[in-house]
């Protein structure tokens, strides 16, 4: 075996040395498995932009075709039409109330959204840690929270409007009730998954239940809590718009459902884009917050 291998190598080096018949070398570029191929920054930007571009172009073509047939068509307004409608709402005071409608709507909606999600986050933090860390609280509350998790929140909406009236309280409560149970459960699970070695070690260093919550549990679940909030914001927007659609006098969801009666796609589409933009910015801010608060959970990627 060994001798054979050596002789083969000798042969190869001999022919190579004479420089007559060099065996054709394989190409230096290795074909990697699909899962191992890396994407450059520019490539990622390009690929990531493609779907947006595709949707935009498809819309532009469809809109242009419809408007060519019927210039007063309302279903697929052209970008200039949407932009002027949006600008009107953002800069021209409303004739009746004198308000700048876009900003009033945005302020009202964000206030409700953040109040609801804020309450839910606080509940997730306090209840989640208590359930996850203290067996007695777990025995007391976990079955209840598990059941509450499966109640469809929108089914509670009429109850909330009847019980709490049509004001802000009902809307904020809907958002909080809609997202809190899942967050509480997720945080509780996370706390229960903390390696028991770490908890035992903290106790050997003299930690008591309270100081361990402060110095071990809280910092360990902080990145997860922020992820939880990011995931909860999706459903939170849903509940917000649902609540505003039914009973409200201002708000982004209210406006969309109001102008729906007049088929004002030139307002609805920019509003949807605006909501999307707000959601994207919130998400980005939360990622930055997580990086700032828990640098240990976001190791620097090797370049």
């Amino acid at each position: 075996m060994l001798a054979k291998g050596m002789s083969a190598r000798d042969e190869a080096s001999a022919t190579g040395g004479e420089g007559i018949t060099r065996p054709s070398r394989p190409k230096p570029r290795v074909r990697l498995r699909m899962i191992n191929t890396k994407v450059s920054r520019g490539g990622a930007l390009f690929l990531g932009g493609l779907p947006f571009l595709f949707v935009a172009i498809a819309y532009l073509i469809a809109s242009a075709q419809r408007l060519a047939v019927n210039p007063s068509d309302k279903l697929l307004p052209s970008p200039p039409q949407m932009w002027s409608a949006f600008l009107d709402l953002a800069t021209v005071p409303d004739k009746r109330s004198g308000d700048l409608i876009l900003w009033v709507d945005t302020y009202a909606s964000l206030l409700r959204l953040f109040a609801g999600v804020g309450v839910a986050t606080f509940a997730a933090l306090s209840l989640g840690i208590a359930i996850g860390f203290i067996p007695r609280v777990r025995a007391f509350l976990l079955p209840f929270v598990t059941v509450v998790c499966v109640i469809p929140p929108l089914a509670l909406l009429p109850i909330l409007f009847i019980a709490l009236g049509l004001g802000e309280t009902a809307k904020i409560t809907l958002i909080a009730l809609g997202v809190a149970p899942v967050m509480v459960r997720d945080i509780a699970n996370r706390v229960m998954e903390l390696p028991s070695e770490l908890v035992a070690k903290a106790q050997t260093l003299g930690g008591n239940s309270w100081t361990m919550i402060l110095r071990l549990v809280l910092p360990q679940i902080m990145p997860r809590l922020i992820t939880c909030v990011r995931l909860a914001l999706g459903p939170a927007w849903l509940f917000l718009i649902a609540a505003e659609a039914i009973a409200s006098t201002e708000g982004l969801g209210y406006r969309i459902f109001l102008v729906r009666r007049y088929l004002s796609m030139d307002v609805i589409l920019p509003y949807v884009a605006w909501i999307t933009l707000l959601a994207v910015i919130t998400d980005w801010l939360l990622v930055r917050l997580s990086q700032a608060m828990s640098p240990w959970a976001h190791p620097v990627e090797a370049r």
Partner: protein, 269 residues
């Protein structure tokens, strides 16, 4: 004050018996080396001594009375894995010891006290050779560095009983010898009782004052987990037995892992 007495200890997980009929008495200041085949229950024994888990039956006395069924500052531990807090940098991991011990309801010491503690922590980092890694998170430390940090952290807690679960398993031979020296030094300094699990028989002979072998004596071919491991060999080490290749070979044969010649080299270092 920090004797350990274990009598008739038994531990079951469901139907599987891991430990049975374990009897051992360790006087204060002894250094027990625990060896035994993988999976025979050494870590389980340590967890029971720590108070993280409870024995199924039998008596465990630590210090003056029966063991408190939860971990306390009396007993320090270095685990096989998850040995340091990943959310704290190296220095913060060491500061945490004093924060927990006397930080009050905030779990944090402040002011002049903190400056003093910081100096102590930095001296300790220096001692375990981690001064350069002061502000790194454990995720960016190698396994051996994490283990050294864990040992430093546990020693700062000044436990009366020190439990070590394969503390040097991930270290390269050079660092390992340094850590041996550090541990011996601190042990002579503080005189705590040490129980150390190791797979390295040479290390067991070099550091311990006693070597205990865990093994199964009873076997049921139909139901392998019917019987647990117990202490099959208990060797007091003095000058003569420590250097005796005969004893070393005997223990190595019982454990059936390490080759006696490499073990002999470790003991000599």
């Amino acid at each position: 004050m920090s004797r350990i007495v274990v009598h008739g200890l038994e531990k079951n997980y469901g139907d599987a018996r891991v430990l049975e009929r374990v009897n051992v008495t360790a006087e204060a200041g002894e250094f027990l080396s625990l060896v035994g085949a993988s999976g025979c229950g050494k870590s389980t024994f340590l967890r029971i001594l720590l108070g993280q888990e409870q024995q199924s039956s039998g008596v465990v006395i630590v210090g003056d009375g029966p063991i408190v069924p939860e971990p306390t500052p009396q007993r320090g531990i270095v685990f096989q894995r998850y040995s340091v807090f990943p959310h704290l940098t190296a220095i913060q991991n060491l500061l945490l010891v004093e924060d927990f011990r006397s930080g009050g309801p905030f779990g944090r010491v402040f002011g002049a006290r903190r400056r003093k503690v910081r100096q102590e922590a930095e001296a300790m980092l220096e001692r375990v050779g981690l001064a350069h890694a002061r502000d790194l998170y454990p995720a960016s430390l190698s396994g051996g560095m994490q283990q050294r940090l864990a040992i430093a952290q546990t020693l700062l807690g000044r436990p009366q009983i020190l439990l070590l679960d394969e503390p040097f398993g991930a270290l390269d031979p050079g660092i390992r010898v340094e850590m041996h020296d550090l541990l011996t030094e601190l042990w002579t300094e503080h005189g705590m009782t040490v129980v150390m699990v190791t797979h390295d028989i040479g290390e067991a002979f070099k550091l311990g004052t006693r070597v205990l072998v865990f093994d199964k004596v009873r076997h049921d071919p139909q139901f392998p987990s019917a019987y647990g491991a117990t202490i099959t060999y208990d060797l007091k080490l003095d000058r003569k037995t420590r250097a005796s290749s005969h004893h070393l070979a005997k223990v190595a044969a019982m454990v059936g892992t390490t080759r006696p010649d490499t073990a002999m080299a470790t003991t000599a270092s």
